[in-house]
């Protein structure tokens, strides 16, 4: 591990000089390509200019390559950091640093549906949360437009966690909340949620002027069209738990041409067959096993396992504190394994599955030739608490593995000198 760290630091120092043509060679890795259920043992990975050019056994090391010796350790694609507010929230309780929600609590219902609200416009790649999440093995997230007094949260978008201004990838994603959580925003009844959503879709499909009270602005109508109709390619994430509500999502999506993903889905396991048949995926938090409200009476620890067994595609995330602790997701995948989910399915749930769901699997989620080189070398089993990410590679660039938190750690673990700790700048 020490050796690897040294290499990483060396690369980081020389990176600016060699950015134009950087070649990395990862030697002797256990490569989880995510294209096959079995890993490639003792395999090598060649990366040129941020792109994987070869994954194979016994590759030749180019003369100009920076060598990273994996010494048999597991290597995976960078992990999915869930649906989060990374880069759009810094400190949750400080409104000035919070950009992930349109606060419409006091607004009349007729003015509340704003699908044109797009949190990706607020994305700040310089947020301290991004390296803090990244060095634990995560390279992308989906920005969450969160409901606050609005059953339509607005639009988010997948984003890479490389800290660059051009981090956004893929298509916009629409967020809709249904169920008891959102009933205050729909005249007090979840039945009215479907009434409002149906009207919104009708408005967006109509060319006439809606009177007297349209739900959508002209921009909202345009936005809504991205997600509906037979030609829509963008996905809509429905935050929903109760089994009967999930079936309504399926029916509503079928009727209006949404491409739905179920988010939360504490009771999704109850309708696993219907989800499998409709080929609708589920993003699930394996820790959510309590009857937190009456929509989640069926919550259980083996929900991910049941869904997988029924043939439902699943992705794994953290719905508890999924922004600041998005880094906890891999352990949640491990906990799903402890409760019956096959290990490989759990690994897929934090890599290729979510990448496919959001249509970004040509950016991330696999280790294969021509894929962007977003790779993590782990000290051991990436789903266990006993392991850490030893090195994260982003678009072919080895991460310095330094964050605001590692600097705080180093400042306070350094021996105290005559001057106060404020003078220690690790």
């Amino acid at each position: 591990m020490n050796r690897l760290t040294r290499i990483a630091i060396a690369v980081a120092v020389t990176a600016p000089l060699s950015l134009s043509a950087q070649t990395l060679f990862i030697d002797d890795a256990t490569v989880h390509t995510m294209l096959d259920s079995a890993p490639m043992e003792n395999a090598d990975i060649l990366i040129v200019d941020g792109v994987i050019t070869a994954v194979d056994y016994g590759l030749e090391i180019p003369a100009d390559a920076e060598l990273i010796e994996a010494e048999g350790r597991p290597v995976t694609p960078g992990f999915f950091a869930g649906i989060s507010a990374l880069g759009i929230v810094e400190v949750s309780l400080e409104a000035a640093t919070v950009d992930n929600q349109l606060i419409l609590a006091e607004t009349p219902i007729a003015d509340k549906l704003r699908p044109e609200f797009n949190v990706a416009l607020a994305f700040n790649p310089a947020s301290s949360l991004i390296p803090i999440t990244r060095v634990e093995g995560y390279n992308w997230t989906v920005l969450h437009a969160q409901r606050e007094g609005n059953i339509i949260g607005g639009q988010g978008r997948p984003a890479m966690l490389g800290g660059h201004y051009d981090s956004l990838i893929g298509d916009p994603v629409l967020f809709i909340d249904v169920g008891s959580d959102a009933s205050e925003e729909s005249f007090g009844s979840r039945a009215a949620q479907w009434m409002l959503l149906s009207q919104a879709v009708d408005e967006s499909e109509s060319t006439i002027e809606w009177t007297p009270d349209p739900l959508l602005t002209p921009a909202g109508r345009k936005a809504m069209k991205l997600f509906t109709g037979s030609s829509a390619s963008s996905v809509t994430v429905f935050h929903v738990h109760r089994a009967s509500d999930i079936l309504q999502v399926l029916a509503f999506s079928e009727e209006h041409g949404f491409n739905p993903i179920i988010f939360g889905g504490s009771e999704a396991w109850k309708v696993a067959d219907q989800l499998a048949q409709a080929d609708v995926p589920v993003l699930i938090d394996p820790l959510a096993n309590l009857p937190a409200d009456f929509d989640q009476l069926g919550a259980r620890l083996d929900a991910a396992s049941i869904l997988h067994q029924a043939g439902v595609r699943i992705g794994i995330l953290n719905t508890g504190n999924g922004t600041h602790n998005a880094r906890d997701i891999r352990f949640r995948a491990g906990i799903a394994v402890a409760h019956g989910l096959p290990w490989q399915a759990a690994l897929e749930g934090v890599t290729i599955r979510p990448a496919q769901m959001f249509g970004v699997d040509h950016h991330t989620g696999t280790i294969e030739a021509n894929q962007r080189a977003n790779i993590v070398i782990w000290s051991g089993d990436p789903l266990d608490v006993t392991s850490v990410a030893d090195l994260v590679i982003l678009d072919g660039e080895p991460d310095s593995m330094v964050t605001r938190q590692t600097l705080l750690r180093d400042r306070y673990s350094a021996p105290e000198g005559e001057l106060p700790r404020g003078y220690i700048k690790p």
Binding site: L287, P291, V385
Partner: protein, 462 residues
């Protein structure tokens, strides 16, 4: 009179004073252990909670208590004609886990409006309220925590108030009343809070004091000064009565000051929500000013900055493995907090949950903290890390003579794990409370279900 002097006087005559107002707990524990046969668990890897690890070892318990651990088991078992033998080949045994910070029962599942009983957020100082009077024993969280190996826990009021009220320590056995869960003989605690929450709830939320951190400190000092006067008045009264004065007027009873006086006399332990290093150091000074001991800081995401000072003050730090950033005072949280807080001699690092999900896997939270410590080069063994979730919380709660370690004479609160408890794949196979099996992963008869969860979502035919 110098306040410090006043305290010394009050401490010296605490007995009389206590007799007057700190009378026997009117809501005393009615906890009864479940009768169980003598039991020996064999072939286990045992983490005793005292810092030891025993491989291929046995533990014997009977009459609710640990009788022998390790080599002494062979001779002690001869005392028992019949004994239940559990083969724990390949499995690990630890003391029952203890969560020093939970709101189960006071903020239960389901989290309905009608269930929100954890914060008496109507005044910044409510030392008169007791969390146990809010406690709903049918919270499904209790049985789920049991499946995670938690045998004892402290339930606290929330952190809206400077003085949130009394805490209660329970044994995690589902019962119809909290009194039947109450840990026999555990001291009461007092929940206090630093920082953002009180000033946000009162200053920002209601336009009353405290609206600032200085307002918070004034609020503490004001109450402690009242408590000193209260003690003084009762002492004076006691002295007059003792001298035969039949006209002496009894001071007016004040439930809140009863609690604060109980802290000053050392009968009630402080559990203080406090995030920032500088604020914790300030609170240590407030405690010196009024002559009490802080006990435990909860949620201190910055305890790594003042690990030496906390160890020196004999204060425990009950903290998360990785939570941070949800508010300004949590912005400097780091993954190594537990491991670094644990370094000094005499430290008392505790991994706590404050969550109905994390309480189900304190072992995994401790595992994360251990791994982070190892990553920075600290040598942390499983036999040491287990103390973060067993012995140290027991010490924080004042129940370390009864539970928190596997030693002869202590309560037989025991967990058999499917493997090394610090792996994400490990589950509690069986949990014993006072020697009785109360949970078994493979035996539905030993998997309790709360009244609330019973019969939900029934199907016409199963």
């Amino acid at each position: 009179m110098n306040p410090k002097h006043l305290f010394l006087v009050s401490a010296a005559s605490a007995l009389l004073f206590s007799a007057a107002i700190m009378a026997a707990d009117p809501y005393a524990s009615t906890y009864q252990r479940i009768p169980a046969p003598p039991t020996v668990i064999e072939n286990a890897t045992i983490l005793t909670g005292t810092g030891e690890r025993l491989d291929s070892a046995s533990i014997l318990f009977a009459d609710g208590a640990v009788q022998a651990v390790g080599e002494s088991v062979e001779s002690v078992r001869l005392d028992y004609e019949e004994i239940e033998v559990v083969d724990a080949q390949g499995r690990w045994v630890t003391p029952g886990l203890i969560d020093v910070h939970s709101h189960l029962g006071v903020y239960p599942s389901p989290g309905m409006v009608a269930h929100s009983d954890g914060n008496e957020a109507t005044a910044p100082a409510t030392p008169n309220v007791w969390a146990e009077h809010s406690l709903w024993p049918q919270d499904p969280g209790f049985t789920h925590a049991l499946a995670g190996g938690v045998t004892s826990m402290q339930l606290l009021p929330g952190s809206a108030n400077l003085f949130g009220g009394r805490t209660v320590t329970v044994k995690n056995l589902p019962r119809n009343s909290y009194q039947a869960m109450k840990f026999p003989g555990a001291p009461h605690g007092l929940k206090m809070a630093c920082g953002e929450n009180p000033k946000r709830v009162y200053g920002t939320g209601k336009g009353v004091t405290p609206g600032t951190r200085m307002g918070n400190v004034a609020g503490y000092r004001d109450q402690w000064a009242k408590a000193q006067k209260y003690i003084h008045d009762w002492q004076q009264y006691d002295e007059l009565v003792e001298a035969g004065d039949t006209t002496a007027k009894e001071p007016e009873r004040n439930l809140g000051l009863d609690t604060l006086a109980g802290v000053l006399t050392g009968d009630i332990k402080i559990h203080m929500h406090c995030y920032r290093a500088d604020e914790m150091l300030l609170i240590l000074d407030v405690a010196k000013e009024f002559g009490y001991s802080v006990g435990t800081f909860h949620h201190g995401v910055e305890t790594y900055k003042i690990a030496d000072e906390l160890a020196e003050a004999g204060v425990c730090a009950a903290i998360w493995s990785d939570w941070w950033g949800f508010k300004m005072e949590a912005y400097d949280g780091i993954l190594e907090n537990v491991a670094m807080t644990d370094i000094p001699e005499g430290s008392c690092a505790i991994v706590h949950s404050d969550s109905s999900q994390l309480i189900q896997r304190l072992n995994i939270e401790a595992g994360k903290a251990m791994t982070s410590g190892r990553r920075m080069g600290l040598d942390i063994t499983p036999e040491h890390a287990i103390r973060w979730i067993t012995y140290n919380p027991a010490k924080s709660l004042g129940i370390e003579d009864q539970t928190g370690a596997l030693e002869p004479g202590k309560m037989a609160d025991v967990v058999i794990w499917s493997g090394n408890p610090f792996s994400v794949y490990t589950l509690a196979d069986r949990v014993y409370l006072d020697g009785a099996a109360v949970y078994d992963r493979f035996d539905p008869a030993l998997q309790p279900v709360s009244d609330f969860e019973l019969g939900q979502s029934l199907e016409v035919s199963p």
